[in-house]
């Protein structure tokens, strides 16, 4: 082959290779398999439910693991119903003993950790093992707060584990008085004191059962090998790219709920009543960290549902906060709802500079123009957070905007002077950690940097990926950090426990905040049943935290979710873990979208 001919052939090859790339396929074209395409906005930390404490990991793990209880998919207000439990618990008269029957015929997904690779039946002892594992202090679980001081003998088990050399040396056969398994299908829980939220917690992912075989077989690598009883099993986890799940063939007979709330029938949420779930065969969660490709993939129909990036808000939503004609032509649906969440800038109270300087923390909090932040980054969608209780919670204080901390630069400057006096000179540059390195995270980092510069304070922003950020927060290795909390259950106690001193990192109290007065109030209120008096105490606790300022509360999110019309049963649900089993894909509508898109474009 001479040079010229070779070059020509190479060009031809290159052209063909590129043309081969021209996109002629549409999701669902190739087979009748029902596939759901979802987006992951960030990498996930791991799939070991015992140590999951972030929403992204929980969203994925929720497809593999099941708890004793779950929230009804359709009913509102949210109602707890049995999941792998046979029924609701039998509670003793003193409210301290719970007897829970477990469904028969619930099997773990097949995995090589089991004898012959065949998943075995779920036993009550799997719960006891999972909970003891969280109690094991050498395991460094983020979720000890769930059980701390609640079950007879479990705190003693934790004390015992302190003396073991490593997590693997802990003897799990050691008895815990408050966790008994009279047979394989019965679990008896004895409490030390009243625990009004117990049923909510038994629907919360960290309480999901774990097979001991999986822990023994995979050791520390169990973070990459979820073995649960859920409707799906992991097929591929390409970290940094995508997660593929397939239907778990061992999944028992479960059916789509038959009752909802008024309007559900009109909304099409009752079309699949009585159908066996899961309905989809395969799930793809593709990691797309940047806004533009995520948005374009959604419009192209390659993702079934998506949130709206700030730069595309005007394209999707009009001035009346409804869908634009362009979106309506594409048969896109909008779901909006207030999330039970609060986002903040947290201060590590064990940090030498911040921990001892309340004036500095308050100066930082007063220096943030929350209104501008919400306008710039969230298109005025969100609510300003003056405290940590979200507006959707019953205990939300309507007077909080007057009692909490808002933007006041003058006051912030005055407080900064006071802070410098306390520090004994000019304050050093502070480090602000962000759990993301994408464009939006960098813009938010720059916004805060600028806000604090205006105050007269230098900060350095450290951008890192989500799992690294989570690890750093867990190990108290951050100074200031951007984070939030989404309620795990419909009780404000879910937020209060974030400030309880016994829950400091690796627990959920990432601020490492400690106030004996708050602790005393928390211990009192945590055992109270719902009442106006309890609501008042919740509000009192919130004001106590605002005064100590372990965090600058910023916003409460209002979700704007778009989904294509082929994505059925897409009812907003604030406890959004493991909901893929209810979804159905209308394959005809999805196949027709390509033509519709051409017509609209």
């Amino acid at each position: 082959m001479n040079g010229r001919g070779g070059a020509f052939k190479f060009f031809l090859f290159l052209l063909l290779a590129i043309m081969a790339g021209c996109d002629s396929s549409s999701p669902g074209d190739d087979s009748n398999e029902m596939i759901l395409y979802a987006n992951l906005p960030t990498k996930i930390r791991g799939l070991d439910t015992g140590d999951i404490g972030d929403v992204y990991s929980a969203m994925i793990a929720g497809q593999f693991f099941e708890c004793l209880y779950q929230y009804d998919y359709l009913k509102r207000p949210y109602e707890v119903i049995p999941h792998v439990a046979e029924g609701m618990p039998q509670i003793s008269k003193d409210g301290l003993t719970y007897i829970i029957k477990i469904k028969k015929g619930v099997y773990f997904a097949d995995d090589k950790c089991f004898l012959g690779g065949k998943g075995r039946e779920l036993k009550s002892s799997d719960f006891v093992f999972a909970w003891k594992r969280i109690a094991n202090i050498k395991y460094f679980s983020k979720n000890w707060w769930v059980f701390d001081g609640k079950i007879v003998g479990l705190d003693e088990f934790r004390e015992y584990s302190k003396n073991c050399k490593s997590a693997a040396d802990v003897d799990y056969s050691r008895e815990v008085e408050g966790l008994q398994t009279p047979d394989d299908y019965t679990l008896v829980i004895r409490l030390k004191k009243a625990w009004p939220q117990i049923v909510y917690l038994l629907a919360h992912q960290p309480t999901a059962p774990i097979a001991k075989e999986a822990v023994v077989y995979y050791g520390k690598d169990i973070v990459n090998h979820p073995v649960g009883t859920g409707p799906f099993k992991l097929k591929v986890w390409h970290r940094g790219s995508y997660i593929e799940m397939v239907r778990n063939p061992n999944y028992r007979e479960e059916f789509y709920p038959s009752k909802g709330e008024p309007g559900d029938a009109e909304g099409g949420y009752l079309d699949d009543v009585g159908k066996r779930i899961p309905m989809v065969d395969r799930l793809f969660f593709v990691l797309i960290e940047e806004d533009q490709p995520r948005w374009l993939q959604f419009l192209r129909g390659k993702i079934d549902a998506a949130s709206i990036p700030k730069d595309n808000y005007g394209q999707a939503i009009d001035v009346s906060r409804d869908l634009t004609p362009e979106m309506k032509k594409l048969n896109i649906h909008l779901k909006t709802f207030k999330n039970p969440d609060t986002f903040w800038i947290g201060f590590n109270m064990e940090d030498d500079v911040l921990g001892k300087n309340k004036a500095l923390r308050k100066a930082i909090s007063y220096a943030i123009d929350r209104e501008k932040y919400i306008k710039v980054f969230w298109n005025n969608r969100d609510d300003i957070a003056y405290g940590f209780i979200p507006p959707v919670m019953k205990a939300y204080n309507p007077e909080i905007s007057k009692l909490g901390i808002g933007y006041d630069l003058e006051k912030a400057r005055h407080l900064l002077k006071e802070a410098e006096t306390i520090h004994g000179g000019k304050l050093p540059t502070l480090t602000f950690s962000m759990g993301g390195a994408d464009t939006l995270a960098r813009q938010i980092g720059q916004f805060y940097q600028r806000s604090f510069k205006d105050l007269g304070l230098d900060i350095e922003v450290a951008y890192m990926d989500w799992p690294t950020f989570q690890d750093k927060v867990k190990t108290k290795s951050v100074q200031m950090f951007s984070l939030g909390w989404v309620a795990d259950y419909p009780d404000t106690e879910s937020f209060l426990q974030l400030f309880y001193s016994k829950n400091v990192s690796p627990g959920t109290n990432n601020f490492n905040y400690s106030n004996p007065e708050f602790d005393e109030l928390y211990e009192r209120v945590a055992v109270m049943p719902d009442s106006p008096q309890r609501t008042e105490l919740y509000r009192k606790a919130e004001l106590m935290v605002i005064e100590d300022c372990p965090a600058a509360f910023i916003n409460h999110r209002v979700a704007y979710i778009l989904h294509h019309d082929w994505c059925m049963n897409y009812k907003p649900h604030i406890f959004q873990y493991g909901l893929a089993k209810y979804r159905r894909i209308d394959m005809k509508k999805r196949a027709a979208y390509k033509e519709l898109l051409k017509k609209v474009k």
């Binding site: 590129i18 591929v236 750093k472 190990t475």
Partner: protein, 312 residues
């Protein structure tokens, strides 16, 4: 020539040892104890010790057969880089990422090379004309526009609006499909700087006496340019081209991130974002080794294309 190649390969042994020493010093001695970074500021001594034990950081640095350096040496030579911070084997990550990266960078590399050398020859031939000025302006403009703009424009216009390409990686697409647009963008963005460089090289050659003689003898322009000028311009071309090859394995950081291509560029960004020293160490070592190997290949190529260079 065989003796020369063997000699050059033998020279690489101390260089590889030097690379190993340098990466070890950089990541272990200068970088400090990674166990504290992994365990966090407030970890208990037991936790730190457990991590040190797992990664072999409790062993002596140099003076032992079981020292950290010897283990680093062994693991590098056997390409056993241990586990990343997310507990996956580093070598598995690299193996998985190398093909998507090569699928992206190899066509980009050849596309840019062939188009830019050909264009440079033509532009050099018509030097001083309006076409030459136009080409220079276009090249400078291409070099001045940020890379990201090409990506965003390509994604929006060619992929979304025209529907010619996929917008982003999707597990149901073939590799050829999801690298197509990034390859095209990579070629377009690479042309500016390369055409400018090769044009300068070609201009130096075109002004030579032998070119004038060739034209005087009545040879046609195509023969003069592609046979004589191109052959004589091979030394700077080889230097630029062969030394660029090792970087093909590293993929393209921006393209891989914005198109979700699960290659080594993305892996490197991830490793930096997650402070994963084990992955960064492995990638640094592999790049250094490839650089050394391709340096040797460059030297061999010099001898092949230029008769003035002797292998003795």
């Amino acid at each position: 020539m065989t003796t020369y190649i063997i000699r050059r390969l033998l020279y690489t042994i101390p260089i590889v040892l030097g690379v190993l020493l340098l990466t070890f010093v950089l990541f272990t001695v200068v970088g400090g104890d990674v166990s504290i970074e992994i365990a966090g500021k407030n970890a208990t001594p037991e936790t730190i010790e457990e991590i040190r034990e797992e990664y072999g950081l409790n062993k002596p640095l140099f003076l032992s057969w079981d020292s950290q350096f010897i283990n680093h040496f062994k693991s590098a030579l056997t390409f056993d880089f241990g586990r990343a911070r997310d507990r996956e084997l580093v070598v598995d990550k690299i193996k998985r990422g190398v093909w998507p990266s090569l699928a992206l960078t190899v066509p980009m590399f050849f596309g840019v090379l062939i188009i830019s050398v050909s264009l440079a020859l033509v532009v050099a031939f018509v030097r001083g004309s309006a076409w030459d000025v136009f080409a220079v302006v276009v090249c400078v403009a291409g070099m001045s526009i940020p890379y990201l703009s090409f990506i965003l424009l390509g994604q929006y216009f060619f992929a979304y609006k025209l529907g010619l390409f996929p917008i982003f990686f999707s597990p149901d697409l073939s590799m050829a499909e999801y690298v197509a647009l990034p390859v095209l963008i990579g070629i377009v963005t690479g042309l500016g700087a390369n055409v400018r460089f090769y044009r300068t090289v070609m201009l130096d050659e075109i002004r030579s006496d032998y070119v004038r003689t060739a034209f005087a003898k009545g040879l046609d322009a195509r023969r003069v340019l592609f046979k004589h000028v191109l052959k004589n311009a091979m030394i700077p071309i080889i230097t630029r081209v062969v030394l660029a090859i090792p970087f093909l394995f590293l993929g393209s950081l921006l393209l891989e991130r914005f198109f979700g291509i699960p290659g080594l560029g993305y892996l490197m960004i991830e490793a930096i974002g997650s402070r994963d020293y084990f992955v960064i160490n492995a990638m640094t070592y592999i790049s250094a080794i490839l650089f050394v190997i391709f340096n040797v290949i460059t030297d061999i190529c010099y001898g092949l294309v230029d008769p003035r260079i002797s292998f003795d």
